[in-house]
Amino acid sequence: MESLRLLSVDSSDRGSQRCRLGPGLMSSLGLRLGSPLLVSLPGGSCLCTAWPRPDLAEGFLQMDLKCFTPSLVSGLPAHLSLDTAQLSPAPCTKLKSVKATVVVRSLDFKKNTNSSLVHELVKDMLAGVYVHKEFVINLEDFNTDIRYVAVQGISPKSAAAGVITSKTGLEIAEIQTVQHYMSRLQDQHTPPLGGLEEVSASLREMLQLPLLYPNTLTSLGVSCPRGVLLVGPPGVGKTVLVRRVVMEVGASLVVVRGPEVVGSRPGESEETLRAVFERARSAAEEGPCVLFLDELDSLFPKRSGSSAPENRLVAQLLTLMDGMSRSDRFLIVGATNRPDSLDPALRRPGRFDREVIIGAPTLLQRKAILSVLCERMPVGPTVNIAELAQITTGYVGADLSALCREAAMHALRENVKGSGEQVVDMKHFQEALKLVGPSCLRGSLGRTEISPVLWEQIGGLEEVKTKLRQSIEWPMRHPEAFVRLGLCRPRGVLLYGPPGCAKTTLVKAAATSSHCAFLSVSGADLYSPYVGDSEKALAQLFRQARACAPCVLFLDEIDSLIGSRSDVGTPNSVQTRLLSVLLNEMDGIGLKTVERRGADKVLQAEGVEQSRTDDELDCQEVCNKDVMVVAATNRPSCIDSALLRPGRLDHIIYVPPPDLQARLAILKVCTKAMPVDSHVCLEELASKTKLYSGADLENLCKEAALLALLEENMEASSIQQTHFLRSISRMSPSLTAQQISSYLIPHQ
């Protein structure tokens, strides 16, 4: 196959519908001078007439785009090379009639020109042009207000393409402006949305009601809503939602981007804003229209006392929104992720009437989003979307699409190495999960990378493990059982016990086993030299944790982090203020409205049959919408009593120092990786290490190994019993009986 290089068209050929080829290629394709030729290009195709190149050279192709598929309106990509198989002669007959939409440049022209004149002109312009059904004809070379003609149908119907002669009838179905036509064209390519059905339904209703039933609304004496404010964290799909809904309703969209409006000269920004409203108004005359102000907070911040230029811009927007008369049928949609920094005057009925809050997606929403994203990917049978949705807590729509992209990239990389069919498997998703993190946790204080710890790696403490599993793992694994028994997930767990008894490790294991987001904070993160900063940081932490619930928030050494009010001395210290924040966040009066997620759905009892997995996910959502606080301390007496009541830290678990059995188990775990001599009796060691904590035992094993190395001069191959015994004799336990008894007294 010979390849042809596509060159840009000569200026003298512009508007001629010619396609310049080498004469040799023309005769091999059986083409005459001026025969119609269908060229298929990446992303569309084009109908032109074949002419030999003036220099008769082969291997090049120059096309004048006159009649082409609508997807090529924006022009051809540069540096394209085609195959000769992409050219095919198109049989053309003389057409009897053509039905078409005329696209004109300005609304003025459409209004002031009568249709018979347009008909006459278009007919004259189209004479001699080869057309294909559902293609667009470019009339820009005439340099009039008539820009394009979109062919809808041709007669005779059996033909796909034909030539328009002076006898061909022309029927004009509609006259549109270029802007309107382009926006309709663009919208056909937007991907569908997942998980935003409810929000988009309410938005659609607002757009459609005044259009479908204008009389009903006027008879009710109400004016239709004019403004909607979309609030939500970045990446949840506010912008995509608006574009999608606008496309579904068939409205035109006027987008305002922040930097476009703001000008350098005084008064310039206001002028641009007025022009934007004027544009929306003229677009609204053609059909429904949405004026979309993205990133509203940066454009219209709170007005400050000084005469900042933003103040005037805010004032201009307020007057423009008030000045919209009832006949202006366009809707203003604003989107922001920081509603608090908006000017309060904007957020009243009559301006932004409604506020729609789009929170971070819930489990079911994530599942919907993932299934939409995976629809277009060749997904292997191993991929379980429900499971993926469970793992991806805290991921917003943008994260999920990044995740899918990354997974596809992994599959691609693998495929390049070997060969085989393109399938994205679960393992690719798992690889991608390591790279793509949830964006609502990005920049968060407590985001920690933990090395996974399995329950088996912790020796002994079976009772404590069971309790922890009950409160963390069970609600995730068996939500339906919890719902059945009317249980809800505990709000918080306090682990207390002497130091070195695996409290932190237990929490790590719990976080590993339950697939939820895990945040951990220390005093270094929270404390700040500024008054009020620490409290703000803690509240922010809770907000982020709630956004990606279910989430475990781990406060290690809570006694020093959060003080107690009974402490004498400083009644108004940072610790006390932090305590009040914590109390409020754990069991406060409610959430901020901005943090709403999903819809207020109770467990459905509707007749709709739902699959079991769906039901299960639903249960899980109901149970796990909160943040669980896990705290650890070794001074339980220093904790404020208000924190310890049920509803806050419900489960108070004592992590005891290991008893004989536990010590044995710990020793087994610790010596698993060590070459221990077969004569070593771990039972004896366990009985000799009373009052040793887990950390002590681990240390003991290390000491014994070091001792073995020391004695046998780096050539030790196993550790003997004597090494253990000697290191026991050198060490002393870190716990004392008195210390242990002090833990037992206040809680018994």
């Binding site: 004469p23 005459r32 001078l33 002419w51 030999p52 003036p54 002031n112 009039t144």
Partner: protein
């Protein structure tokens, strides 16, 4: 060869019509000038307040003047439209010749290979070139639709548009394309005389 003859006839017709085309356009130019002038007068009239001038003694002066100007505009437009129909007839005749030549080629194309059609000689360009030039010329004459659109969408009450009409008219001249036709005719001199 009859195809050669048809092409030759088309070019001869094109050469003859070219002068007529130019003369009609030249007639149009002063008319457009006066149209712009009228627009200016109307503009001036709308700005002046007759009641503040000594002319206030004449009743309804402003309306009468306005009416007269509009009448003049109508007259001018009428004359321009007559010229347009002249242009249209020229274009139709050129278009008729061109499409007849192309049709003749289509009918006899089966016996005519592309290689033969692209053969050039020292005295005559190739058939492909000539057909292409004919099409180009037809396309050039079809551009008069721009002028037609301009005139037909002109509204008498839009003073700014009237004033700018002359300028817009002049901007529609495309001397390059016209020169191209002249050049092509020069290249064909031997061919046209060879009959």
């Amino acid at each position: 060869m009859s195809l050669q003859g048809a092409v030759r006839r088309s070019f001869v017709a094109l050469r003859d019509q070219r002068a007529a085309w130019r003369s009609v356009l030249e007639e149009c130019d002063p008319l457009m000038e006066s149209l712009g002038n009228l627009g200016e007068q109307m503009n001036a009239l709308s700005r002046v307040r007759v009641s503040d001038t000594p002319l206030r003694a004449f009743p309804d002066l402003q309306e009468r003047l306005q009416f007269q100007l509009l009448q003049a505009v109508d007259l001018l437009l009428q004359r321009l439209r007559d010229r347009m129909s002249c242009l249209q007839s020229i274009r139709d005749s050129v278009g008729g010749h061109v499409s007849a030549a192309l049709q003749l080629y289509q009918d006899s194309a089966d016996g005519l290979d592309v290689a033969v059609a692209t053969q050039r000689s020292s005295v005559a360009p190739s058939l492909a070139d000539m057909l292409e030039w004919l099409q180009d010329a037809e396309r050039f004459y079809r551009r008069f639709l721009q002028r037609k659109t301009l005139l037909l969408t002109l509204r008498r009450d839009d003073r700014a548009q009237l004033e700018g009409a002359a300028k817009a008219w002049r901007s529609l001249d495309s001397p390059d394309a016209e020169q191209q036709i002249t050049d092509n005719l020069c290249r064909l001199a031997f061919f046209l005389e060879s009959q």
